[in-house]
Amino acid sequence: MSTPVLNDTQLRILEAVAERIFPATATPGAVAIGAVEYILRALAGDYPEMVGVYERGLGEIDRHALKRYGRNFLSLAETDMDCVLADFENARVDFADAADFFETVRCHVLEGVFGEPEYGGNRGLAGWRIVDFPGQQHGYPDAYINRRVDLPPVAVASKKEAK
């Protein structure tokens, strides 16, 4: 990416937030799956007007962490990070757009985890593997009633779809 859309601190806060929204467990979390890359590409591409929303919102997350815990967001324990984010989710923050901003980030992170990989997320189709979704199959010759679909997940780049 030529010009970074977020500065280094903003980027690290975004990574931490993404990882709290969809954390690594026995399976990969949001960052490893590419959700942050998905968001950066969206900001640099389809949603340039949202760069300011992210800059402001990520700054407010840090400000709220300082206010509530006296420390920067990135130095908080995971459970405290969760409390900061829950305050945003439930609009318990001195920032009028807190709940909207959290909802925006939550949706974007999950889109990055579960979206088609050509948008920068869902690396190695990891998001689809976690939920057992076989991806962009041409079709299903069987109804698979009460039976796991045992097809490996497939991704098809949009541009290849042209006839």
Binding site: R20, I21, F22, P23, T25, T27, D46, D82, L85, E89, R106, C107, V109, L110, E111, F114, G115, E116, Y119, G127, W128, I130, V131, D132, F133, P134, Q136, Q137, H138, G139, Y140, P141, A143, Y144, I145, N146, R147, R148, V149, V156, S158, K159, E161, A162, K163
Partner: protein, 564 residues
């Protein structure tokens, strides 16, 4: 074709415009069709891409240029909203619809007679303050032959004679029902236990390869059977198994040589002369230049919001309140369905809801229309209930029971286990015409051509609220009978399946068009499609829109003296 004169000018080339173009151009009339959106290529609509068609619909070329402003009551400020319902693209919303082809029931056309004259509302104890409940000027029998034509030209998969509440039909469906999915099996079994009459919902999706046989239009090309990919609602169909005018009626219309199709052309006014007849339309061409097209007949086949906007923008000294608006009812009594659902998850059953299509569904009409005893219920009318819940992980990521968080470890664990183990019941509840639900011109917002945006003021009122509550309880009961491990219900904020704004009726003081979709005020102006619905029954409007289009075409072709 002559540049400056046509027999018929069509505003909008979607479902309605596609059918009318085919019917009228095939009969030899010179037809010019204006579509404000582009002609999409396969690569524009067919990718199975949930980011493009679910997450980022506001960036679609055929959505982002034509927002509405929206509010729930007249005292609120209307805010810009991007909608996928009026899909501004050649072929219109049939490109991305779900495909449910339900005929209205005979009683759906007689709501005033049944509820007011025959006392249904009184028995129910319903409060109809603010509503205007009316009959249609036409009935089921008037539309029956045209429902059939729509079903046989577009290829509908279904089974006749299974739904005891359906109106009589002369012919069955051209194709057998779609393959049954897990959710359909669960639903059928549950309804059997409860004594409800489940049936395979008729779908505008081919269960087998299909080409319309004679006496239907054999020029419509053969299309292949559905492959059950599950990318249906909001997507274009990558194999063309889903009924759409884009690859059926429109190419046939073009092949006649009588159809002059102009995409990326936005009509901004219907022109009239001093006698009050329509003379044609004014439009912006693809370069933004204002131009005029003259025609003997003008047909508006646009979405609800655009139809109202265009009629209001076409005011003249003779028609100061807007065209076709001597009744003052243009933009009034807007209708839309609520989205009321029951959700179920299964610990011991794999549903695989991503296997499509969504319109491969089972439904019950035991609680639709007047099919059940409303005594003392406090509301009138009902809705169909059926299976739903298809979708990729992006579209289903918020299908979470109320006791599970929507992010974090618990969310991840929930979704990892249950994405393949949920489905929904969706209810399509009838909405009554209410005086507070209107579309008018936004006093501030303008589109990219500088034309005022349509402003939508819409909310559900007391009858809908009571009906939604009742229907939710029924859906909850059915979902529990499927054996779901957990059941929850919810109502999505957004109304959908819009109609009204130019209602049909026999009294020119209380309606905008007559039973032939013809303006009471301007005899060579027709408004066809969802805007003319005086009531919105508990089914999607599409089959009725298609039937009205065929019927109007036939009526116009009978007026031979107009085209001499």
């Amino acid at each position: 074709m002559a540049d400056n004169f046509a027999d018929v000018c069509l505003v909008g080339v979607g479902a309605v415009g596609g059918i009318l173009a085919k019917e009228l151009a095939s009969a030899g009339l010179k037809v010019v069709g204006f579509e404000r959106g582009p002609a999409p290529r396969h690569a524009d609509y067919a990718p199975r891409d949930s980011i493009r068609f679910i997450a980022r619909t506001d960036r679609l070329d055929w959505v982002r240029h034509e927002p509405t402003t929206t509010r729930s009551r007249a005292s609120a400020t209307a805010e810009i909203r991007y909608r996928t319902s009026p899909l501004n693209v050649l072929g219109g919303a049939l490109l991305h619809w779900t495909g449910q082809v339900s005929r209205y029931m005979p009683g759906d056309f007689k709501v005033y007679t049944n509820e007011i004259v025959n006392g249904g509302a009184e028995r129910a104890g319903a409060d109809l303050t603010g509503y205007d409940v009316v009959d249609w000027p036409i009935g089921y029998d008037d539309l029956e032959p045209y429902y059939e034509k729509f079903e046989w030209e577009f290829g509908v998969s279904g089974r006749a004679g299974v739904n005891p509440f359906a109106g009589p039909r002369k012919r069955g469906y051209p194709l057998p029902p779609l393959r049954r999915s897990a959710r359909m099996e669960l639903f059928a079994e549950a309804c059997g236990k409860l004594g409800y009459h489940a049936y395979d919902s008729p779908a505008g999706i081919l269960s087998e390869a299909y080409k319309p046989p004679a006496p239907y239009d054999a020029r419509i090309p053969e299309r292949p059977a559905c492959v059950y990919c599950g990318h249906c609602n909001f997507y274009g169909c990558h194999v063309h198994a889903k009924a759409a005018t884009l690859y059926t009626a429109i190419p046939v219309a073009v092949s006649t040589g009588n159809f002059d199709l102009r995409t990326n052309c936005k009509v901004f006014r219907i022109d009239t002369d001093e006698r009050g007849d329509a003379t044609g339309v004014s439009y912006f061409d693809p370069d933004g230049a204002a131009r005029e097209q003259r025609a003997r007949v003008v047909i508006v086949g646009a979405f609800v919001f655009e139809t109202v906007r265009l009629l209001l923008l076409s005011k003249t000294a003779r028609f100061p309140g807007g065209l076709a608006n001597s009744s003052g009812l243009v933009g009034k009594y807007i209708l839309a369905h609520g989205d009321v659902r029951a959700y179920g998850l299964f610990d011991d059953f794999i549903v695989n809801g991503f296997i499509g299509p969504g319109s491969a569904a089972m439904r019950v009409d035991d609680f639709n229309g007047d099919n059940f005893d409303h005594t003392g219920l406090g509301f009138i009318r009902g809705g169909t209930i059926g299976t739903s819940g298809e979708g990729t992980p992006v579209s289903r990521m918020d299908v979470v029971p109320p006791d599970v968080p929507r992010w974090g470890r618990a969310y991840k664990e929930y979704y990892a286990k249950y994405y393949t183990r949920t489905f929904d019941l969706n209810i399509q509840p009838e909405t009554l015409a209410h005086e507070d639900n209107v579309v008018d011109l936004d006093p501030q917002g303008k589109d990219r051509w500088g034309v005022p945006l349509p402003r939508v003021t819409f909310d559900f009122h007391q009858n809908e609220q009571r009906l939604h509550r009742f229907m939710t309880q029924i859906a909850d009961k059915i979902m529990r009978a499927t054996g779901a491990s957990k059941v929850w219900t919810g109502e999505k904020e957004r109304p959908n399946r819009w109609a009204g704004g130019a209602r049909m009726g026999s009294d020119p003081r209380r309606s905008v068009v007559n039973g032939w979709c013809q303006s009471h005020d301007v005899s060579n102006l027709f408004i066809v499609g969802a805007p003319v619905f005086p009531t919105l029954a508990g089914y999607p409007p599409t089959a009725t829109i298609g039937a009205l289009s065929y019927r109007t075409a036939e009526y116009i072709l009978r007026q031979k003296e107009w085209f001499k």
